[in-house]
């Protein structure tokens, strides 16, 4: 066995070394394939179970490119269900808030009422209709499942694989850790970009960019050579992951503000906490045996990067709008509450540091998109540390063609 502080290999060439076509970032044809073969066929993260904790709680989820709005409710039987947000009368959206609570879902257009199980419960002036069978006019159901406390939907009425099989190798340990009731949503941001949705994912799944992209923020806190990649060629929904480790001796600028923050918590990714922080049920998920480990970030195909560390979960989601437009979101979950000022200071410092780092991560996508749209660049070159980009591309091609790019 090697030295305990040894960092895993940065990546490999196991998926090939050839340049990758950039056509799928800009062409309408590829975008249509993505809509049909990915966003209508795969498991998509659509919400958090805690947001539909009680019967009558609901959230809505929107897939802009498909113009599809989904309602997720918890019924009287405590079962979580998903439906198209479409009144079966004349197709109006029924619920328009991101989340809320209601015992019946009433369409604001003419007042058709659906119960939490999606059944059409009441039609004002029912006698005004002719041949009419209410039992056939329930909301259209959408496949739904829960993993790690996250709600996933699948627009395929009969998904090809279960959510659990889809997310392998992320096993029951992950389900348990991420689904722990102690996690609460803390904060998040949302932005719109004139860039293909996959470019915002690409920016997060390789460590090769760290030294240059982040030269004005966290340079030295996570050196590029401490951000190795790993691919899962046999996985259906998890093509790759990257990890981040601290250097044995912190390089770069550790400011007094950061060091004061580190006394009170573990929110910042970039400064080692002085507190011994123990995460519940992290066995098999957190690489706690490695003294320098900070986080693992998993690519959940197609549009999620899930960062897992002690005491913090960070989810980045992109939702396509058109080939050159997307929404990007990031959300943070923490355990425990912010009670003391020290905790608040730590939370604020961590929040601002990652915000500033993210502005750097997000800086390149729109320029790249312009070069693809203009046809100036037609291929991209991927090194072994960037292998998750190649794994992502292979998974995309597999969705398009039924086989990956290497076959």
């Amino acid at each position: 066995m090697g030295n305990i502080t040894e960092i895993p290999p940065l990546g490999s060439h196991e998926l090939g070394t050839e340049a990758i076509s950039a056509e799928h970032y800009s062409s309408q044809e590829s975008f249509e394939l993505e809509k049909e073969k990915i966003f209508k066929k795969t498991w998509l993260m659509a919400g958090r179970e805690a947001d539909v904790a009680k019967s009558g709680d609901y959230v809505t989820f929107f897939i802009d490119a498909l113009e599809v709005s989904i309602i997720i409710t918890k019924g009287q039987d405590n079962k979580i269900r998903a439906f198209y947000n479409a009144c079966t009368h004349r197709a109006a959206h029924i619920l328009n808030e991101p989340c809320g609570h209601t015992n019946f879902m009433t369409c604001g257009f003419h007042g058709w009422v659906f119960d939490l199980e999606g059944k059409l419960a009441d039609v004002p002036g029912e006698e005004l209709f002719g041949d009419f069978d209410k039992s056939k006019l329930g909301l259209k159901a959408v496949s739904v499942d829960i993993w790690g406390g996250f709600i996933f939907i699948n627009l395929d009425p009969s998904p090809e694989v279960s959510l659990r099989d889809y997310l392998a190798p992320l096993n029951e340990s992950f389900d348990k850790y991420l689904g722990h009731e102690d996690w609460t949503w803390s904060y998040g941001w949302r932005s719109k970009f004139n860039a293909n949705w996959k470019l915002l994912v690409d920016a997060q799944i390789e460590g090769y960019h760290v030294d240059q992209t982040h030269r004005n923020t966290i340079a030295g806190a996570i050196p590029g050579e401490y951000a190795p990649a790993l691919v899962y060629p046999d996985s259906i929904g998890v093509p790759a992951r990257i990890s981040a480790y601290r250097p044995e001796k912190m390089m770069g600028v550790q400011t007094d503000v950061a060091l004061l923050s580190a006394k009170h918590g573990a929110t910042s990714l970039y400064t080692k906490s002085e507190n011994e922080f123990t995460a519940k049920d992290g066995e098999g998920v957190l690489n706690e045996d490695h003294p320098l480990w900070i986080f693992d970030a998993y690519l959940l195909f197609p549009n999620i990067v899930l960062f897992i560390q002690k005491g913090q979960i960070l989810v980045q989601r992109t939702i396509p709008v058109s080939p050159s437009e997307c929404f990007w979101e990031v959300d943070f979950f923490h355990t425990g509450t912010v009670d003391s000022f020290g905790q608040l200071f730590n939370s604020e410092q961590g929040r601002i540091q990652i915000r500033d780092v993210l502005t750097e991560d997000l800086y390149t996508a729109e320029g790249i998109q312009m070069n693809f749209n203009a046809g100036v660049i037609k291929d991209v070159y991927i090194n072994q540390q960037e292998i998750p980009i190649r794994a992502y591309y292979h998974r995309l091609m597999k969705a398009f063609n039924g086989k990956d790019a290497s076959q």
Binding site: R190, N216, D331, Y363
Partner: protein
């Protein structure tokens, strides 16, 4: 039981505290973005020698119990998180190698899509 930490005397930097004790992270972000480097540096230099003591003093209270001058002081201390990178890394008020931070719109929940 440890003894109570007394409130540090900050009368001489009260003007700087008043300037930066804004209620929200977003308020303090905008303040930093609109300030000159001289103004940012002046605030940082005023607060920096006292920051450890201020945090220890305020840490004796629940955040929800902070009112009046202590609430104001807490906001000025949090503003140090906002100006830290500008002072210690960028040497200018705004990072020039990132997107405009204001493009990242604060959400109110995981499923919030109304903000943008």
């Amino acid at each position: 039981m440890s003894h109570m930490i007394e409130r540090p005397d900050l009368g001489h930097i009260q003007e700087e505290i008043n300037q930066w004790a804004l209620p929200t992270t977003e308020d303090r972000l905008v303040k930093r973005m609109k300030s000159s480097m001289e103004d940012i540096q002046r605030f940082y230099d005023a607060m920096h020698p006292h920051l450890a003591t201020v945090i220890d003093y305020l840490n004796q209270f629940k955040v929800s119990d902070l009112v009046g001058d202590d609430l104001k002081l807490s906001r000025a201390a949090l503003a140090m998180c906002e100006v830290d990178n500008a002072v210690n890394k960028w040497k200018k008020p705004i990072l020039s190698t990132g997107i405009d931070t204001l493009r990242m719109v604060k959400k109110n929940g995981f499923n919030d899509r109304k903000v943008l």
